[in-house]
Amino acid sequence: MNEQPIVVQLRGVSKEFGHGHVQALEEIDLDIRPGEFVSLIGPSGCGKSTLLRIVGDLIKPSGGEVVVNGKSAPQARLDRDYGIVFQDAVLFDWRTVEKNIGLPLEIMGWERRKRGERVREMVELVELKGFESHHPWQLSGGMQQRVSIARALSFGPPLLLMDEPFGALDEMTRERLNLELLRIWEQSGSTVIFVTHSISEAVFLSTRVVVISARPGRIVGIVDVDLRQPRNIETREEPRFAELIREVRQLLRKGGGFDAAEGSGEEDLIVAEEGLQ
């Protein structure tokens, strides 16, 4: 087991909100290896977004150990070991597409020429050529999300954290971006942690699907997705695809995923906790 380095190592990670009134996560153990595409799936409020933020050191865990690239999570954040993509693109309105993509490079103090080159590569990677000097409000939702993916990958982080990145998009855009994401993942060689609500999206994209139960969030089971790589439009037609979906669904049911109340306010709690920093 130990011959390969581990990108993310979680040991007994737990998280309580509101002074212990809400147990969001309990005893999470998980190892993620280089190049993996791991989806976290579970009902609303199961703490999957919280888990993602704990890995990224945007939230502190209440207990347990988080190791990213052999370092503590805060150190990994300071070393810019990961890029992050949210459900909303979170682009800066006052910056053009180019400047949005180059924001992390600016923060890291890259010199202008090197920055320009990398931004051009990124624009090509996410197929936004010709839109470099557009402003975010001039782009469709799908294009905005591609800008935010390019921004997250601009500095070549070994780890990509994605928090329901396609949740706000329509089905057709979503399927197209799924394919694009797989292509980008192959090209960049990053490790991806992907939070989603969609079973089929999780199975289609991932090498492993981690199913998390309703509150308190625990890992109910992990499904190894042994679908052929590279995946394409036909992948969804394969019998194995349907079987894997059934497996994930059964695990979700076991974890109470189908009787959990919708919108149980995990997001609100995060916002309240973070407050004005």
């Binding site: 954040r77 990961y82 992050i84 979170v90 910056r95 923060i107 890291m108 799908g142």
Partner: protein
């Protein structure tokens, strides 16, 4: 690319919105003038009285008389009134501009400071609010005493009074703007390990710009009002405040002069406002629907 970017509405015909706006302004101006003259006509023909208020050429001069007064000599063998008022307006503009710059800077710095500490907000905000409940006329004489004859030019104390009216909206809106940042955007900055100065400069500042300019618009006109009022206790004769005081004494013989002065004071306030609007257009890059 299948998806097409949403275009700016009306970008192809940039002159049309401007023309519509100008047309609308002209219509409203004509309507207001008509209303004035109509009220005067009705009041005079019916002998309308509201208590001791009577509509006549003293209380309600004809608009053409007011405008015409601008081109009459201000006193016997003196320069035209408009020349006098032009010089006075320039003088007051200087006081107001310095006051605005001072007030906006102090207000902004105060806002930045308060935005970074809840504790400072709790401690200072009540007093900042209290400062605005004290009538400017009560503060002005003290300011004149403090700054008069201490090496500052006379008009500088007027600028201080003007700044006193200016800083408050800027502080409140800076505070509001800097703290209204999308929490996701903050997470994004933290994920790139941005330092506090980068977060301030690359995220909080641009986010707060529209708030800031909303405050500048209020402050710009307030700075003119502050300068005019400030001239009274400072006994400064060279500005519009001095002119208002002067023509007030001659109101019974020449009411049009005071009205004309008010007209010029209003024009100065509008000019200050427009300068801020133009600056905003140049500085703030925002989705068109977010630009006031």
């Amino acid at each position: 690319m299948a998806t097409v970017a949403a275009e700016h509405p009306g970008r192809g015909i940039p002159w049309r919105p401007a023309l519509t706006r100008l047309g609308m302004m002209a219509i409203v101006l004509v309507a207001l003038c008509s209303l004035w003259e109509a009220f005067k006509w009705v009041g005079e023909t019916t002998g309308l009285r509201l208590g001791s208020f009577e509509v006549n050429d003293k209380t309600f001069p004809h608009l053409y008389d007011i405008v015409g007064q601008l081109f009459e000599p201000s006193r016997r063998n003196g320069p035209l009134l408009i020349e006098v008022l032009w010089d006075a307006a320039l003088f007051t503009a200087k006081e107001a501009a310095v006051g605005f710059a001072l007030g906006a800077s102090v207000g902004f710095l105060l806002g930045v400071l308060l935005a970074h500490s809840r504790l400072l907000q709790r401690g200072f905000l009540p007093y900042i609010v209290a400062s605005q409940t004290i009538p400017i006329l009560a503060v002005a004489p003290m300011v004149v005493v403090w700054f008069g004859g201490r090496g500052f030019p006379d008009w500088f104390s007027v600028s201080i009074i003007s700044a006193y009216l200016t800083f408050f909206p800027v502080t409140i809106n800076t505070l509001r703007g800097l703290t209204s940042v999308d929490p996701r955007a903050l997470e994004l900055m933290r994920s790139s390990a941005a330092n506090p100065l980068q977060i301030l400069w690359k995220l909080r500042m641009p986010t707060s710009l529209p708030y800031l300019f909303a405050a500048f618009k209020i402050s710009a006109t307030a700075s003119v009002v502050g300068a005019i009022i400030g001239e009274l206790p400072a006994s400064i004769q060279d500005g519009l405040g001095g002119a208002i005081l002067n023509f007030n004494q001659y109101y019974s013989s020449r009411p049009e002069s005071l009205w004309a002065t008010n007209l010029i004071a209003a024009a100065l306030g509008i000019t200050f406002f427009l300068v801020v609007v133009v600056a905003e257009r140049l500085v703030v890059r925002r989705a068109p629907e977010n630009v006031a």
